[in-house]
Symmetry: C2
Subunit: 313 residues, 2 copies
Amino acid sequence: MPRILRIAAAQMGPNQRADSREAILARMIALLEEAAGKGAKLVVFPELAFTTFFPRWLLEGEELDQYYETSMPNPRVQPLFDRARELGVGFYVGYAEKTPEGQRFNSAITTGPDGSIIAKYRKVHLPGSVEPRAGDRFQQLEKRYFEYGDTGFPAFRGPGDWGAPVMGMLVCNDRRWPEAWRVYALQGMELMVVGYNSAAYDPNGGSTENEEIRTFHSILAAQSNAYMNATWAVAVAKAGNEDGSGLIGGSVIVDPNGVIVAQAQTLGDEVLVADCDLDLTRQGKEKMFNFAAHRQPQHYRRIVDQVGAEPPA
Amino acid sequence: MPRILRIAAAQMGPNQRADSREAILARMIALLEEAAGKGAKLVVFPELAFTTFFPRWLLEGEELDQYYETSMPNPRVQPLFDRARELGVGFYVGYAEKTPEGQRFNSAITTGPDGSIIAKYRKVHLPGSVEPRAGDRFQQLEKRYFEYGDTGFPAFRGPGDWGAPVMGMLVCNDRRWPEAWRVYALQGMELMVVGYNSAAYDPNGGSTENEEIRTFHSILAAQSNAYMNATWAVAVAKAGNEDGSGLIGGSVIVDPNGVIVAQAQTLGDEVLVADCDLDLTRQGKEKMFNFAAHRQPQHYRRIVDQVGAEPPA
């Protein structure tokens, strides 16, 4: 029986700070409907999809609190869940999570066709800093606003009517870390879903990498890690000029050969769809990347025994 | 003080089984001289550069033995070492090693400008099989002819007049394994050198990946692992139709952004040269891939705790 899952990448344009939650949710529902109309059974939204990328500012109190979801679902997001259930479509979405105990994480969930949450993930690789950089208009304060994810990288099985794929979730910066992909691949991952908000340039006017090279890096990470882990990968941006700070697009659906089968052409709301044959992962898993036959973990100890680099004398 | 090292990738066309060692060495010396003439201080040759890729046949006895070097250097390779010392050029070269105790490895060395061996590596990720596949004209018997490398991934410092780069060596299939790159990067690697012999297609006429996708995979592995480890990478093929079996080309020199700065255009003997600014690795090592700031090894345990994949129920 073929295991072909039609997946949509629902790239989003920017969510401005002044945009109402209702307006953002209406855009997400429109993307969901477009994807469902094209036959997709799984729709992948970006990281922090319900809000602007608020870690770019030093905030506190009520203004900061409003960006977090204290339960999932909740009344502010319920219309998306309701519409998805009506359409029989599952989705991945990233959001800022605040637990009843007050812990805060940069999280993502995947829902099934019945609207229930089937898996949850909390971002492990938080970029940025705890303290703001003096004098900078734009910050990157993820290490201030979130704790490091405590879920590890727990693979899970998607529903039977998706072909029961072994799935993994990551959030944004995680996708650049081969360790994260490998831990999922060691659980047989066939499909990786990841949303992101990635700066297109230095919003404070510095001369580091430009938008072209940053988009290249994002796509390179998706292609190579899909190939080296023999998995499908769907990587989805929130893109464009968000509150004066540029975000790359470059959303892609990548096959287990690392080949791009669909790629966003805009920096706005845009739906990509691809039929993903989950059994295309077999060639890699059974030959080139047959882990049981070829891996030599006794030589990989540094990966867990040290954190930073330790150069020779 | 800028740390700019001019490096040459010395791609080789095929070494036919009938070619004399003298003829092969003469080609290698010509490549070395061309590279030195262009100002290169380090020349990177392929895996098993002195011979045909003999694991494609089931061999034994004297015929098999002739492919191994029982010491390094030795009279059969001495002219290359002599010419390199005269030119003040170091090199990486892959060869089949047989130790005095009779152990056999798929090895590589790097020599310094004075002709001395400064580091040695034995291939960890051996593809292929121990037993031949019945009925196949061409085999892949690396697991039969070599033991798994016992060196691990030991980074080393290149000579001062190269800018004292922290270097790593891999051999062929190793380059597809992100674990190998990461272990070197955890030692501060700034320059990876790797030679390969990679099949361009199934020489037995099967319908697996074609030459285009296999070349894409090879280049993708070099680009992505250079980027994700903030290192220069030089990946060099033995290419072309070797004894009736096709080998990909696609030799590349890749910068720490994952951008190709030089790429082979042929499947024959060909020298690529690039000026590699070792300090270009700093941007990645100090920001995006600042391991000490961002890695979370407590979540990477599966990488060393298991060999094969273990899918969820």
